[in-house]
Subunit: 356 residues, 2 copies
């Protein structure tokens, strides 16, 4: 890796142990193994078990490997939505899940508030079979609270809940027992290159999929019954991204070793000093108004001189994220992921303080 | 990489320049770049242009990045088949494409001959909109001839032809002007890790997709009109497997540099000595009877002592492929890809000669 530090919210800075594991993987010929060999099955099993431990998945929650969070939206709609899903949207990614359902010709519905806004109304139309919630809206730095997720769970015990945990896990604790399916891509808080998605699915989803499969197509190789059949043997239907599955397992083990509580305490500390730096700066203002809904992993500040500030930091080798979509020229997004050391964030805050 | 040589037909031996490019990619922070940055757009453009040059794609043929050949089957059916496709099957992979169409509830049809058999009858039912042909049936080492593809093209000028070129390109010349779409995964003859698929699509496919899109869903992010919209800017709808797109481009450029004709001459020479070694050996026999249909890149031999021979070579650090599916214990499969040097194949042939 170069001497730059990427504070971009994804693709992001690689995890600090990434390069060592990569070297080991290549020296051990991981990419040349047969994906049906016992050696590779062991790799899948280790990654599966490490993720379940780190994320504290409840019994009966399965992990399947996809290639992106985009694919998770695609596969969730194909497998789990017959007619309609409902989506809470306050940014580009939460809205995109809805767009994917519409592209699949579903009669899906949307509760849309302005970008970064909070939801006063958490009601869901009766016809919705699945509810899409975004734990961390990476485009604008909004965080859906555990209390709100709990409230939706209690109000709609029979509907499926799909939680987007991209750039939230493993930094932010998530109670997966409150949702039926969740997904993330590895190029955010896990610090891997893009090209691997993780899909978490509970038994209720499998029941829905098995039932639907009797009358309709759920797709092909990534239909849930097929994923379950292969997954039960720690295999995948296709030749998967074996190298990244290996690397994800190793990095997850490292995170367990570091201590998940320590990692989360560090996340809270780094978020606090970043928030303080934003609040005390005359050129910066928090984009998300509701303090309780500000993301700890994606700090988003509005600034009349956003582009200038990004360029200023880039010259120092510190790459901050620009705004997403319409906010491109107006926002600064700063990722606060496990690979960002306290020291590097403290340095960033000091330098922010000095920007005039 | 270890000192082993993988003659397995995929996942396979990594291309000999892979490790150098990987080191450079990491030192240049390729995985941390924004996938919307001009730096990464340049990477996609370079890979696109190199592939078009190496494969000699005709004008009007587009390249899109998927994650596997399995995904190509999925996306071809979703995008291009309304009611029915027809498939020529003589092995596991050619049959699987048909299975994918059936899983998508298509009324697809099949001309199935025994594994590794040749097709006397190249006729296709009238209702088929798309014809699936497998250039190189990696499971059994059968090669569909250019003459047969030409014959199907002439007989059915209005149907779409989808050609599976997994483990064929770039070693075997393919006239892409005779087909409408083609696809491969990079863990075979290109010598990369698994996790990236390349989908080649001509304008006729785009016309079919645009027309179908008016009445039906083609999927979501990987619907062809969406791929074309992003592809026109050398972008992808999702954050793609950026690192492998970079590496594929670099390895493709190396292959151009080496000279494609030289690479193909070497492939022919190595296939000839491997075939000779099989023919002259009392314990080995070619599985594909028709000499003209034997794959040059995947040499498949029947043997009563296949497992024993595989183990014998494994002890010497030479990993040969076992049989696929039902043939697991009866076949030896030997990959002959660009990364396998003439010297390594000569050594393999010498050692085969000595097996008693």
């Amino acid at each position: 890796m170069s001497n730059k530090i990427y504070f971009t919210p994804g693709p992001a800075q690689l995890f600090y142990t990434f390069e060592d594991h990569l070297k080991k993987a290549i020296s051990e010929d991981i990419p040349s193994l047969s994906h049906r060999s016992s050696a590779f099955i062991k790799v899948v099993q280790e990654t599966d078990e490490a993720l379940k431990e780190l994320l504290e998945l409840p019994e009966g929650y399965h992990i399947y490997f996809l290639n992106s969070a985009n694919e998770a939206w695609d596969r969730i709609v194909q497998n789990l939505v017959e007619t309609s899903s409902h989506h809470f949207a306050n940014g580009s990614f939460s809205k995109k899940f809805y767009d994917f359902a519409i592209a699949h010709n579903k009669q899906s519905t949307l509760t849309e508030v302005g970008d970064g806004g909070s939801f006063d109304d958490l009601s869901v139309p009766e016809q919705a079979e699945l509810i899409g919630i975004t734990k961390n809206e990476t485009s604008v730095g909004h965080s859906f609270s555990e209390k709100e997720i709990e409230q939706i769970r209690v109000s709609y015990p029979d509907k499926l809940i799909a939680l987007d945990v991209v750039s939230a896990v493993p930094s932010i604790p998530v109670d997966f027992s409150k949702v039926d399916t969740a997904y993330f891509s590895v190029q955010k808080a896990f610090g891997l290159p893009a090209g691997l998605g993780v899909w978490i699915v509970n038994e209720k989803c499998h029941e829905v999929a098995e039932k639907r499969a009797k009358n309709t197509s759920l797709g092909s190789y990534r239909a849930l019954p097929n994923l379950k059949k292969f997954g039960a043997k720690y295999q995948t239907p296709e030749t998967p991204n074996m190298l990244y599955i290996y690397l994800l397992g190793k990095i997850t083990q490292d995170m367990i070793q570091m201590g998940v509580q320590r990692m989360r305490n560090d996340t809270t500390y780094k978020a606090a000093i970043l928030n303080q730096a934003v609040e005390s700066h005359p050129l910066l203002a928090h984009f998300v108004e509701s303090k309780d809904h500000r993301s700890k992993t994606t700090i988003v500040a509005d600034s009349p001189r956003a582009r200038e500030i990004l360029n200023h930091f880039e010259k120092k080798g510190l790459i901050l994220g620009g705004g997403y979509g319409n906010h491109k020229e107006k926002h600064i997004r700063i990722a606060n992921f496990p690979t960002h050391s306290k020291e590097s964030v403290e340095m960033l805050c000091d330098l922010l303080d000095k920007v005039e």
